[in-house]
Each structure stands twice: as structure tokens, then as C-alpha cells.
């Protein structure tokens, strides 16, 4: 390997890292000291930090309620995703009449972004009577094509001899999935869980369209609502931001590998 000096690379990457982390630091600093909302010039180190903006954020906006709503919707989406995608992924590993058509259908559905479907999706959800409900919020997110193909890839890697042996033993197709395939597809399950959770947790547009009453709102909606109430005149808004970002950052740090793996194994929703 040709030797080249390492320190310019470190310098460049350090600069970029600082630029990428600067917004985080600034938000945390403001949420802790509340300066720089009206004062100028801003100071680098917070002068008299206190946690009272977090108390304000907790009480001004029903954070607990929104958090629970988000958790419920995301849980429904994650569980439904794992089950439905595993089933569909398994079905795609078998040959059957009409398989090319189904594959074509799935691949072309990947091309249809959610934003191109909002008006009819709203009307359909209304007809189903699911407006302003947890199921209405979760239903469009209960299956994603990227995750189906993640499962398919994982199931394709299971040796056929194992599956055939199970079939000879008389296991039904359903039990084959759960007893044979799934235990060997742990990373696919993990990827599925992480991606489905993050996508439904961060989803803003669909809850904005579907919720009517204030206490069915999810966390992103709550944050946007706080902004429209208080403008940016209080450190509580930034405390709320930090409270909203913290679970996302924590989850990402815990499940980095699975997340990156899931993203790089195919094109994504973005």
C-alpha cells in the first residue's frame, strides 16, 4: 500500500464532523440555557444551564400522550410488518403461477411514492371508517416492499434440503415459516423491525392528514403544533426538540448495524 499522510484526511473529516454535529450541540445548548433566542451574539458555552425548559415542554404540550400514541402506532406497524412481510417474502421464494406478475406489481409499487396517493388514501381511510384512529394511522405502513425483499433474500439463503426435510416431516407451510425460516433470518427480522419502526415513528404527513382530534396526534405532529403555538420564543420548543430527537438517536446508536444493513440492501423509501 502506498503510504500517504493521514493527518489531512483526519483534518477534513474532523471539520465535516464538527459541521454535522454543530446543529445538535446548538439545540442542546439552547434547550438548557435559553439564551440566543433573543440575545445576540450567541455564546459558545451556556452561561447558566438549567433543566426547567424540559419541565415546561412536558407540561405545555401533552408529551406523554403523543409519545404513547407514537409508540402504539409504531408497534402496530412493526408487528404487522414482520408478519406480513415474512409471509410475502416466503411466498416469493416459491414458484407459482402468476409469480412474474406479482413481482412486477411489487416492483412498480416501489415507484409510487406515498405523496402521490394522499388524496385517495384519505378518502379510502374515510370510507373504511378509520379516520382518527390507531388502525387508520398504522394501516398504510403495515407492509413495505423493501422489507419484503429483505425477507425474500434471507429466505432464499436457507438451504432447500432443510425446507424439503420439514415438508417431508409433514409441517404445513405456515409452520415452515415460523419454525424453520424465521429462526435463521434473525438479521432480516432485526432490519425489518428497525426500518419499520423508524419510518413509522418519523412519519409526519400521514398523521397530519388522518388525525382530527388533538389527542390522537403523534409526536411529529405534536412538535409541529408546539411550533405553531409558541413560535420560537421559548427554550421549551428546543427542549421539546431534544426530547423528540433523543429516542431516535438512542435507537440508532443501539441498532446501527441493522439499520445500515437494511438501507444498503436495496433502494429505499427515503
Amino acid at each position: 500500500m502506498r503510504r500517504y499522510p493521514r493527518w489531512p484526511i483526519h483534518m477534513a473529516l474532523l471539520t465535516v464532523s464538527v459541521l454535522m454535529l454543530l446543529p445538535f450541540y446548538w439545540v442542546v445548548k439552547t434547550s438548557v440555557s435559553g439564551e440566543n433566542i433573543f440575545a445576540y451574539p450567541p455564546s459558545i458555552i451556556p452561561k447558566s444551564p438549567h433543566l426547567f425548559y424540559y419541565v415546561d415542554a412536558w407540561y405545555y404540550i401533552p408529551f406523554a400522550r403523543y409519545f404513547v400514541n407514537s409508540i402504539v402506532v409504531s408497534s402496530i406497524a412493526v408487528v404487522a410488518n414482520v408478519i406480513l412481510n415474512a409471509m410475502a417474502g416466503y411466498a416469493l421464494t416459491r414458484d407459482f403461477v402468476g409469480k412474474p406478475f406479482v413481482l412486477f406489481l411489487f416492483l412498480s409499487c416501489m415507484m409510487i411514492p406515498f405523496q402521490a396517493t394522499i388524496i385517495p388514501a384519505y378518502l379510502i381511510t374515510g370510507r373504511l371508517g378509520l379516520l382518527d384512529s390507531f388502525w387508520g394511522l398504522a394501516l398504510p405502513q403495515c407492509s413495505t416492499i423493501v422489507c419484503i425483499f429483505v425477507f425474500k433474500g434471507s429466505f432464499d439463503a436457507v438451504p432447500r434440503s432443510l425446507v424439503d426435510a420439514a415438508r417431508i416431516d409433514g409441517l404445513s407451510e405456515w409452520r415452515i415459516i415460523w419454525k424453520v425460516m424465521m429462526p435463521l433470518a434473525k438479521s432480516a427480522i432485526a432490519t425489518n423491525v428497525i426500518l419499520a419502526f423508524v419510518w413509522s415513528w418519523n412519519n409526519f404527513m400521514w398523521p397530519l392528514i388522518v388525525t382530527r382530534s388533538a389527542d390522537m396526534q403523534t409526536l411529529p405532529l405534536g412538535l409541529a403544533r408546539f411550533l405553531s403555538y409558541q413560535e420560537d420564543t421559548t427554550g421549551a420548543l428546543y427542549a421539546f426538540c431534544v426530547m423528540v430527537l433523543a429516542p431516535g438517536v438512542l435507537l440508532f446508536l443501539l441498532a446501527q448495524r441493522e439499520f445500515i444493513q437494511g438501507l444498503t440492501s436495496g433502494a429505499t423509501k427515503g
Binding site: A88, Y90, C109, P113, Q115, A116, I119
Partner: protein, 294 residues
């Protein structure tokens, strides 16, 4: 292929298929039908042919402004991809702590876009924002720039915030692509006397084509559908300076409740998406930018 065992397969496919038919395929068809009608939830539908489209193309300035803004947004995606390519090359180098750098640069991607929008909205603030502070400290400007309130700076500011969020994602894709290039290609070229620049342009770039294509497509799709960021950061304003097609569709449908006109704009929106993706595919040599084996 036993017919007996085909039924369970369809049963397995059925729930997912139902969801996609219901929430992807049916909406496309419904949009198309609705765009030729004059309908509101309170009255019956009436066929009006192309009049929604006529209104959209000839009478609606907001539509054209939104279209222009969307195209501008999309055209800025390649800049972010090129920046990410540079970052990927740096992170791919044989240095200690590259995983830490990778994590730090990527961490902005899985965050809630609403929160990112709020943070950047405040960083671009005219009186107390950080960007203005830095610009004034470095003597780049004498007066603070009202980024999110000026007609020229609003859209670039939103694009900057979007770039901050997407940079890590592009970098990860390109990094994976870089790491899939076999080392012996570089070694063979070095032995043959190729300089670093030639190695880059003759080996790295061609073999990265699929990853670059993927980044461009995802970037384009992301710019096309960037509702959260624009809605929270500027709401489409000032005036309509940051109005994208997607925010315009939302406002038409759910603020003005003109579902039929919104459907027409959505049909155009989707057709534009397909056209851009198809032409990107053609421009990159077909086959989704795959590398040709010779």
C-alpha cells in the same frame, strides 16, 4: 408446482397485496378518474374532461412556481451526491476511527425531519441565527440576511438543510460501493504504472456507477417528496418561494379541499416522477446504471 399448495402461497401474499392494492394502485387509478371530474364530498361527480388540466396549465401561476421550485430542488441533489462521494473516499481511507466518522456523518439521516426543520429554521434566523452570526463574524456580510424570508435565499436554505440530512445516507451507499471494488484491480493498475488520478477515473468511477445511480435516484425521490421539511421550515413561503408540488397538492386537497383539482396536479406529479426516473435510467446507459462487463 403443485396446484394443491398454491393456495397457501396466495394466502400468504394476500394481506400485503391488499395493502398495496388499496394504498398504492387504487389511489393512482382514483386520482386519474378524479382529475377528469368536478367533485366534492358534498355533491355528485360530474365529468368535465380536461378542464382541471386546463386550469392547472394555463390559469395557475402557483402550479408553475411549484413546478420550477421542485425542479430546482431536484437539480441540487447531484451536488450533495458529489460531496458525499468526497466524504466516502475520505472515510474509506485506511485511518483509525473511520467507523466513528461514519456514524457521526450518518446520524442525521434517521432523525425526525420535523425536528431537523425546526433546528435549521432557527439556525437560519435573521437576528439570532448561527449562520448569520458566522457570516457577520467572518465579515462576509454587513447586514444580517433574512434567509427564510427572502425570495432568493429561502429555497437554497431549505436545500442546505436537506443536504445536511441526506449527506450521510449518500455516503453510506457510496461507501458500500467503494468497498465492493476489489483491491487487486488497484494493485494491478499501480503495477502497470497508472497514477492515482487515472486509477480513480478508470477504475473507481466506472465501478461506482450503480451506487451513484442509486444515490441520484434516491436523492431525486427525496427532493420530490420533501413535504415535512418545507412545511415546517417555511410553510411554502415567503409568498410561494419554497412551494413544492407536494406541498401544493397538500394545500389544495386539505386546506382548500379541492380534491378534484388536487388529483389533477397529483397525476401530473406522478407522471413527472416517472418521466424523470425513466430518462435518468436512459441517460446512465440503461439497465439502472449497471456496469457493463466487457
Amino acid at each position: 408446482m403443485r396446484i394443491r399448495s398454491a393456495l397457501p402461497i396466495w394466502c400468504f401474499l394476500a394481506p400485503s397485496l391488499v395493502i398495496f392494492l388499496l394504498y398504492r394502485v387504487l389511489p393512482l387509478a382514483w386520482n386519474l378518474v378524479l382529475s377528469f371530474q368536478d367533485w366534492s364530498p358534498l355533491k355528485a361527480a360530474r365529468w368535465v374532461g380536461l378542464s382541471q388540466y386546463e386550469e392547472m396549465l394555463f390559469d395557475d401561476e402557483v402550479f408553475w412556481q411549484a413546478l420550477w421550485n421542485t425542479v430546482f430542488f431536484i437539480a441540487s441533489a447531484p451536488i450533495a451526491v458529489l460531496l458525499a462521494l468526497g466524504l466516502a473516499l475520505l472515510v474509506n481511507a485506511d485511518i483509525r476511527g473511520r467507523n466513528i466518522y461514519r456514524t457521526i456523518i450518518f446520524i442525521s439521516y434517521p432523525l425526525m425531519t420535523v425536528a431537523v426543520a425546526i433546528i435549521w429554521r432557527w439556525m437560519f434566523e435573521e437576528r439570532v441565527g448561527l449562520i448569520n452570526y458566522v457570516a457577520r463574524s467572518l465579515d462576509l456580510v454587513t447586514q444580517p440576511i433574512p434567509f427564510l424570508n427572502s425570495f432568493q435565499w429561502a429555497l437554497p436554505s431549505v436545500i442546505a438543510a436537506n443536504t445536511w440530512q441526506m449527506l450521510g445516507f449518500y455516503m453510506i451507499i457510496l461507501l458500500t460501493g467503494l468497498q465492493n471494488i476489489p483491491e487487486n484491480l488497484y494493485e494491478a493498475a499501480a503495477i502497470d504504472g497508472a497514477s492515482a488520478r487515472r486509477r480513480f477515473w478508470r477504475i473507481t468511477v466506472p465501478l461506482l456507477k450503480p451506487s451513484l445511480f442509486l444515490c441520484f435516484v434516491v436523492g431525486m425521490l427525496n427532493s420530490f417528496t420533501s413535504f415535512d421539511l418545507v412545511y415546517v421550515m417555511t410553510g411554502g413561503g415567503p409568498g410561494r418561494a419554497t412551494e413544492l408540488l407536494v406541498t401544493y397538492i397538500y394545500k389544495l386537497g386539505f386546506v382548500q379541499t379541492r380534491f378534484d383539482y388536487a388529483a389533477a396536479v397529483t397525476v401530473f406529479y406522478f407522471a413527472l416522477l416517472v418521466a424523470i426516473t425513466w430518462s435518468a435510467n436512459r441517460l446512465s446507459g440503461g439497465n439502472a446504471g449497471a456496469v457493463e462487463r466487457d
